[in-house]
């Protein structure tokens, strides 16, 4: 008789296997999934302790915490997948406070029947994104829901970070006269994802811009600790994000259409679908609002970072009791750039 020493006599059948309800039941099948797939991929000291929480040292001070759920469809898209997106998006939300990201948590909600091969691909990509960013996934959770009660996989990540002393970036800090900068072209992510929707019936070579912006932000904050606002224009795009900030800060904004960087292919796809690139989601871009005099220096820093090469000053804040975001069009007229009404297209992040 062989002694039953290994906890899991057979390894997971990654190639042909599927997630079933036992993988979420809290028993040995779940332990195996966690061990062979998640812990193997994310592999870091905190996670490897296998506790219900990850532990690590933090310096004291101002901390930020953020979370986002990722329900994107399709799961794999040009330039990324739900796994890397779930890391980038949350690292970015931490970075948008000017903070240095410390660690991430990851909660998976998986639909029964999901191929283990896809799960592995996603987790591997997520682990790579986390390692590349230097922000470990220190704790996680897996739930399995019945077929028809989910959509393949949903991932919710949370992230924390520490804000360097003296930095007080917040959406309510924009002041009339401040410059509005963006770190690059608008709408790449949304268009890349939409190009994968068979029903939309178009093709393009645009890649998602999904990326972790914290190193660029660190350089920006180091140079200009007094940056007023940072925010990533994700769902709802540049337009909704600027409206959000205008409302929080109680200012108006005026931008110039000709200054907003948009790739021709993104414009083409938007024309085709009747969309406005100002409302299309980004996952590797930021909006920076700063004192006008800091703008050139910040633009230089962004442009010298690989993720900010197309950075541009697109307008400025101004007094406006109505907090309108307006835009001077290429034709020379003015228009309001309003919140997104309804949804642009569902499930873009």
């Amino acid at each position: 008789m062989t002694l039953p020493r290994r906890a899991h006599p057979r390894p997971l059948d990654i190639q042909n296997g599927r997630v079933d309800l036992t993988h979420g039941g809290g028993g040995r099948a779940m332990a195996q999934l966690v061990e062979e797939l998640f812990i193997a991929a994310f592999d870091n000291e905190a996670l490897n302790q296998r506790n219900d929480q990850g532990a690590f040292e933090v310096p004291g001070g101002r901390m930020v915490m953020t979370t986002d759920g990722y329900v994107i469809s399709p799961l794999f898209f040009p330039g990324g997948d739900i796994g890397s997106l779930a890391v980038h998006g949350t690292v970015n939300d931490v970075a948008m406070a000017g903070a240095k990201p410390i660690s991430l948590s990851a909660g998976f909600i998986i639909e029964e029947g999901f191929p283990l091969s896809d799960l592995k691909r996603i987790v591997t990509s997520m682990a790579k994104a986390s390692k590349d960013a230097g922000v470990p996934v220190v704790t996680g959770d897996t739930k399995v829901v019945e077929k028809g009660k989910g959509d393949g996989i949903f991932i919710t990540t949370a992230g924390i970070g520490i804000v360097p002393p003296g930095v007080e970036i917040s959406g309510d800090k924009a002041r009339p006269g401040d410059a509005i900068l963006v770190s690059g072209t608008m709408g790449d992510h949304g268009v890349a994802v939409m190009s994968q929707r068979e029903s939309l019936g178009f093709e393009t070579e645009i890649l998602s811009d999904s990326a972790a912006l914290h190193t660029m932000v660190a350089a920006m904050v180091a140079a200009v600790p007094g940056i007023r606002v940072l925010r990533d224009p994700t769902r709802g795009g540049l337009a909704s994000t600027l409206n959000e900030i205008a409302g929080q800060s109680g200012v108006g904004m005026l931008m110039e259409e000709a200054l907003v960087p948009v790739k021709p292919q993104v414009l083409g796809a938007c024309e085709l679908l009747g969309l406005d690139p100002l409302y299309v989601a980004n996952e590797g871009k930021l909006i920076c609002i700063c004192a006008e005099e800091d703008a050139p220096r910040l633009l230089d820093i962004m442009r010298s970072h690989p993720l900010g090469r197309d950075a541009a000053r697109i307008g400025a804040c101004r007094e406006d009791a109505h907090h309108f975001v307006q835009m001077k069009t290429r034709m020379g007229g003015n228009r309001v750039v309003d919140w997104l009404a309804g949804e642009q297209l569902p499930r873009i992040c």
Partner: protein, 378 residues
């Protein structure tokens, strides 16, 4: 993008603007109605109002097929979507439009009705093919532009002998609507409203051609310029109309000659003529009952007519009494004259046709132009 970028040149826009300013007689006012929502949208989105002199006033017409559909037809579409076994599909524009009780197809979907967005009538056919045990109803809306694609789909359903596909037809005709406006008492008899000229439809005209407008120009003595939907097209059309008015002409001119001919698309026209017949009367939201202004399927295509297959309800709850759409569409009032505008009527909660899609007069003004009211009022 060729044929797009050239028509969005800011410098040219400014120079056409200068030309208009130069040619417009400072002593008179020019009331120009752009019939199409496409033009309304271009004017608002590109802020063209700022490029026009104050005495050239644009009046936003009823030319958005989403806006003009009466609430009762949306209720009917929702009713259809709720019939057992039905998949109701339609263009994305229709999903958020509220019917009565603030219900929309999107909300009906949230409540469990099977509603799908399609980008083409070909998608609707595919949906029927891949769901043989379901009834796929295509909620067809649109002007002359959008009718031929519906006709192609029905032809294809016929060829494929699809028994589970039908069309809830709401295709409407632009000339009848223009007539209705010109026949309104304010315009025709009272003279309280001036409508000096029309910008004619762009893409509608690619199908029907410029010839149908010749009757109006003649009968109502109004100049018409058919124009594309790019901002320079609109600016140029305004300039051509100002010139016609100045010169006392009332001709049909074609600014959109790159895509529109006098006779239009014969192939599409004959396909539509084969398959559809005029309804005696059809209600337009904001305009009321308009005779011979809509199409329905002819008898030989009855098998694909959702209104013959189901006993679709015909009630039509009216708009909010305070809604001023009718007056706005006839140029009698402006959006800000409506006391619901921006308070309880917004694009998220439209109370009348003009707030329904971004091409409606109220929605375009709210979404793109409302800063002007506040600038004026301050």
């Amino acid at each position: 993008m060729k044929y797009i970028d050239e028509f969005r040149d800011g410098e040219l826009a400014q120079s056409i603007a200068r030309a208009i300013k130069a040619e417009a007689d400072p002593a008179s006012t020019y009331h120009i109605m752009e019939f199409c929502g496409g033009h309304t949208h271009a004017i608002s989105r590109y802020g063209l109002e700022d490029l026009l002199p104050a005495n050239v006033r644009m009046i936003h017409g009823p030319g958005c097929p989403v806006c003009v559909l009466p609430i009762g037809r949306i209720d009917a579409a929702i009713w259809l979507a709720r019939q057992p076994g039905v998949i109701l599909c339609t263009y994305g524009d229709m999903l958020r439009v509220p019917g009565s009780k603030r219900l929309s197809l999107l909300k009906a979907k949230a409540e469990g009705a099977d509603v799908r967005m399609v980008y083409s009538t070909m998608d609707a056919i595919k949906l029927a093919q891949s769901n043989p045990d379901r009834q796929v109803v295509f909620f067809a809306i649109g002007f002359e532009t959008t009718t031929p694609p519906t006709a192609v789909a029905i032809k294809q359903a016929q060829a494929l002998e699809l028994k589970n596909f039908s069309v809830f037809c709401n295709h409407v005709l632009t000339p009848s609507a223009i007539t209705q406006i010109l026949d309104s008492p304010e315009v025709r008899e009272l003279g309280t409203v001036k409508l000096d000229a029309f910008i004619g439809p762009a893409h509608v005209s690619t199908i029907i051609g410029s010839r149908p407008y010749e009757y109006f120009a003649e009968e109502y003595q109004r100049p018409v310029v058919i124009a594309g939907f790019e901002p320079l097209d609109v600016m140029q059309a305004v300039r051509m109309l100002v010139r016609q008015i100045n010169e006392g002409r009332f001709e049909v001119e074609n600014e959109f000659a790159r895509a529109v001919t006098r006779d239009g698309n014969e192939k599409a026209k004959s396909l539509v003529a084969d398959m559809f017949e005029l309804r005696r009367v059809f209600e337009w939201r904001g305009l009321g009952m308009v005779p011979y202004s809509a199409l329905r399927l002819k008898e030989p295509y009855a098998a694909w007519d959702a209104e013959r297959r189901w006993d679709v309800p015909q009630d039509n709850p009216g708009d909010n009494k305070a809604c001023e759409c009718g007056a706005i569409l006839r140029g009698v009032k402006k959006p800000i004259d409506c006391k619901l505008f921006g308070t309880i009527c917004t694009p998220e909660n439209p109370m009348g046709s003009c707030m329904v899609s971004a091409e409606g007069a109220c929605a375009a003004h709210w979404t793109y132009g409302r800063f002007r009211d506040l600038e004026k009022s301050e």
